[in-house]
Amino acid sequence: MLWLCLDFPELALEVFTRGDTGDEPLLIGAGQGRARQVVQANAAARRAGIAPGMPVSAAYALAPSLRVVGRAAATESQALQGLATWAGQFSSLVHLVEPQTLLLEVGASLKLFGGVDNLLRQVEGGLRDLGYTARLSLAPTARGATWLAFAAAGTCVSEVTALAGALASLPLTVLDLSPAQQACLKGMGIGCIGECRRLPRAGLGQRFGAELLRQLDQAYGEAPDPRKPFTPPERFSTRLELPGAVDHVQGVVFALNRLVHELCGWLHARDAGVMSLSLQLLHARATVSRSELALVEPSRDARHLTDLFRERLGRTVLPEAVEALVLNAAQPQPLAAVAGDLLSRRPPTALSATALIERLRVRLGEERVQGLRILADHRPERAQGNTAAVAPPPGMAGGLRPCWLLSQPRPLALEQDRPCLGGPLQLQGSAERIESGWWDGADIGRDYYRACNPTGECYWIFRELQPPYRWWLQGIFA
């Protein structure tokens, strides 16, 4: 077993800031009125000189544009669950350690991801896309990894034999003990885990209880450490609160990108893609605007999905400023494997045809992007159709056909009993008679000709076989 520990020290702040493009000072305050104190401050606030423990009124003096929020425990818990869902792409065994830590068993995933370094790089890159900062550590025991992340972030121990050495120098604060017990250990002159472990075991147990011994044994891998694995949800639904009301599409898309990356982690874990997505923009006064996205083919490409939403949102006018986003996805579909073409001349950045069609449909509307097909009918206007999904049946035999068809036949003017269009039309070749459709009430009887006018334009015209024997234009030989 090899455990990767992800600890999110700034989770309480980042649930507020990760949907924001800017870098505004923000802090979490606790307490009431004048006794209100700074609990945590983000980087911008720390740069202004604000430190935890300071009264909030003093912080306001240092940074007038400061925003103070209370801690949102429920949102943090949801964010951690979202992170655990996302982390499912790296490991099949994820543990959630409230309030801000995740444990991933990655020993079984190393080969797939190409070694420890590659795996860590991918995890770090993914967390950046999500908008979180984490302390990472790797150890053969779950508790050992957690301790390393708390006190010596960035330490990677993959051998059991090296674990004792790495843990020995950790401070006692990593232990889950009451403050009184911590003080007592300190009073005994114990400064680090290694010293604590050298004490006589029986006496240590008598004085501090079995809990301390259990924690030490679990960290060193000498006692079992059973935990409940995290089960990812069947449906994806995530909410992101925006730091302030956002009234421009760019800001919404930025925040949406975070959610789409989370979604893609969930899809990776299931080895699936989505065909439909629904986005809700929550405005003030509890109004909601919805945007549904339907795809031609299952996808889990974060860039593609964000691009589609950008096109969609770019064409809508936000009725009000947006305060929160909710992204929902259901029914993940299995993905078809993609085979590359070895000898293709296509540019490396080529967009697949389905991606192109989706992009066009999202912006122009589905009815404006169509395929073509042949229908088995002799009547020219019924021998073709538009289609979204194409499956052409075999065409019917017949004479010469023009490339352009008019949506409705147009009557032709007559001059000395000859049809005219930009001058008298000269009929060419012999007539092609089409008589069909008596069975469905739309029967036709026509003689078709090819005809050219003096300027060289060629038309496909017909004459009715019944009185009044009118002439009509139906196609153009372009």
Binding site: A353, L364, V369, L372, A383, E457
Partner: protein, 211 residues
């Protein structure tokens, strides 16, 4: 400095030298020769006509059929009439690789055209543009280069005197007999404009058979 000295210089470009042919075969040997190997890939081709219906689509059909048969897509942006499926199928165009796009506004039309050209999945894009300024055409030319696609723009002859970044500009005129087409090369790559050529464009439809 003599003429021989000048001829030795590597940085001197000589107008008579043709660039290596890297075109899409037109299906008409005469026109292939005239265009130095066919329709230029990754570029715009402007086809200027005074009237519609003189054979301007038939001229392209052999190349379009070849594109769809090699599994690339053919996109029609803002076609003025219904592209008639039986006629296209008879010319060898695989209909399941044809995409019709009917954008509403001129802005959407240019956008759709740029997207299809740039995507790399469309071998050729046919578009009917009423108005296009030099800036817009330049964008389209760059998009065609990025996507290695041929953009055929059908425009009216009256824009023939305006400058254009298109790699090839042809003016089509109906010849006296209906099935022939006069082709005048206004601009081409690696050569000067040439004398008009008359082509028989009928055989594309007639030969590919009555299946």
């Amino acid at each position: 400095m003599t003429l021989e000295d000048l001829m030795q210089r590597a940085d001197l470009w000589r107008g008579g030298e043709a660039p290596p042919p890297s075109g899409l075969a037109c299906g008409y040997p005469g026109l292939d020769r005239l265009l130095n190997g066919g329709w230029p890939q990754g570029a715009l081709v402007e086809i200027l006509t005074e009237h519609r219906g003189i054979g301007e689509l038939r001229l392209l059909l052999p190349a379009l059929a070849g594109i769809t048969q090699s599994d690339r897509w053919l996109a029609l942006v803002a076609p003025p009439y219904i592209p008639y499926a039986p006629a296209l199928a008879r010319a060898g165009v695989r209909l399941e690789r044809v995409l019709q796009i009917h954008p509403g506004s001129q802005k959407d039309r240019l956008w759709a055209l740029e997207q299809t050209l740039r995507s790399g999945s469309c071998g050729a894009v046919l578009a009917w543009l009423q108005e296009a300024d030099a800036h817009g055409l330049r964008r389209l030319q760059l998009a065609a280069e990025a996507g290695d696609s041929v953009g055929f723009l059908f425009r009216h002859t009256r824009v023939a005197r305006q400058g254009s970044p298109a790699a090839v500009r042809l003016r089509l005129t109906p010849a006296r007999s209906g099935s022939r087409l006069g082709i005048e090369v206004l601009k081409r790559r690696g050569g000067w404009p040439r004398a008009p050529l008359e082509l028989e464009v009928e055989h594309a439809l007639a030969l590919s058979g009555f299946s």
